[in-house]
């Protein structure tokens, strides 16, 4: 019995020490990690609205479940972060619309589809196609990368639905 108590005490002491160490590390790193996250989001938003200085996250309603976040670039438009199921893995991308409903920016954040086929939607070729589109005339699928681009097109359609509720266009 005495043995069990001493063993339990030893383990408890070890766990408490571990907790203390991690609390220390966490108090140093937590604010930096938070800053990094904000900086990373800002950097990608800047790619879509290069001249905007102020971004704010906005609340929105989305029935499709595909749109994760919406950011407003003050006086310029909205950027929507969308997640869809691609050919192999989920695809996350950002699409930006200006206040006239023209697509102004498109950036694939994460993708893991077949190299040379589905991965092509991360290339400039598809980005140019998307940027040429607008709310009334959405983009078409990319020949040779049908499954992945069709998924993205569906995501863009969901983004348009959300965009229409936000912007008076």
């Amino acid at each position: 019995m005495k043995k069990i108590i001493s063993l339990t005490l030893f383990l408890a002491l070890a766990s408490a020490l571990a907790g203390a160490v991690l609390a220390g590390v966490n108090s140093i790193t937590a604010p930096i990690i938070e800053e990094q996250k904000i900086a990373a989001v800002k950097a990608t938003l800047k790619e879509i609205f290069p001249s905007a200085t102020e971004f704010a996250e906005v609340k929105f309603e989305d029935a499709s479940g595909k749109v994760n976040n919406v950011y407003e670039a003050k006086g310029q438009g909205f950027a929507l972060k969308v997640t869809v199921q691609g050919y192999k893995d989920i695809i996350t991308f950002l699409i930006g619309y200006d206040l006239n409903g023209e697509a102004v920016g498109f950036k694939v954040v994460s993708i893991n589809d077949t190299p040379g086929i589905g991965m092509r939607i991360g290339d400039q070729e598809f980005a140019d196609l998307v940027i040429g589109s607008s709310v009334p005339t959405p983009v078409d699928t990319l020949a040779g990368a049908t499954v992945s681009s069709a998924a993205v097109v569906k995501g863009i359609e969901a983004a348009i639905v959300v965009f229409k509720t936000l912007a008076e266009y």
Binding site: L7, A14, A18, L22, V25, N26, T29, Q36, P115
Partner: protein, 213 residues
């Protein structure tokens, strides 16, 4: 010079990855490029060395019955600390390694060395063992990632993990001759199989030599 030769020989004969098959999950998963391999290798090196030091220094007061849970607590604490530090100071590495970073806890090399070596030897020896094993692990990861990156991307490059600036980049294979499949799981398994077979062949050859003598 002799110690370096010994180190290289041991690297081939008692390689923790290709010889003993320890920690192969992460080896297969993250060796798509040199950046990830170095990031993962160095993280393991740090966790392994510090865990060896700590476990060796508490080896006399740790009750035998609960030594494994205590080791696990030590290793998990170190891993989480490294994970938090990498998240804060090298976010690109964190994004690339993802969930494989906390999975360092179950990397058999670390618990294996704690149980087999650090719990029986003094601090100085355990530190050297940790550095030695960690370096062997890092070099194994680097070897595998160099092969995969060159075959799949045709380039060999290294970025500074703290500010993601390019350190060097060499183009080796022109775009039309690259084999993209080496980025995929198939390529990981194949590269690993051939490296392991190579290590086995060397082991067999040295064993035969010893017999002849």
């Amino acid at each position: 010079m002799k110690t370096l030769g010994n180190f290289l020989l041991n690297l081939l004969k008692e390689n923790p990855v290709f010889g003993l098959y320890l920690g192969i999950c992460s080896t297969l998963a993250i060796t798509t490029n040199l950046d990830n391999a170095i990031g993962m290798g160095v993280s393991v090196l740090i966790v392994l060395t510090i865990s060896n030091i700590m476990i060796s220094s508490i080896r006399k007061i740790t009750p035998d019955e609960i030594r494994i849970p205590v080791y696990i607590i030590v290793i998990a604490t170190l891993t989480k600390a490294i994970e938090l530090l990498i998240k804060a100071f090298a976010p690109t590495i964190d994004a690339a390694l993802g969930v494989y970073l906390p999975l360092i806890v179950v990397n058999c090399i670390i618990l294996g060395r704690a149980e087999a070596y650090a719990s029986k030897n003094n601090i100085w020896k355990s530190t050297l063992d940790g550095l030695n094993m960690g370096l062997a692990y890092t070099l194994s990861l680097a070897a595998m990632s160099i092969i995969r990156q060159i075959l799949a991307d045709g380039v060999l490059s290294l970025n500074n993990p703290f500010n993601s600036t390019l350190i060097f980049e060499i183009n080796i294979i022109p775009a039309e001759y690259r084999i993209a499949i080496f980025k995929e799981p198939i390529g990981a398994f194949l590269t690993f199989a051939f490296l392991a077979a190579g290590v086995a062949a060397i082991q067999n050859a040295t064993a035969k030599k010893a017999e002849v003598k």
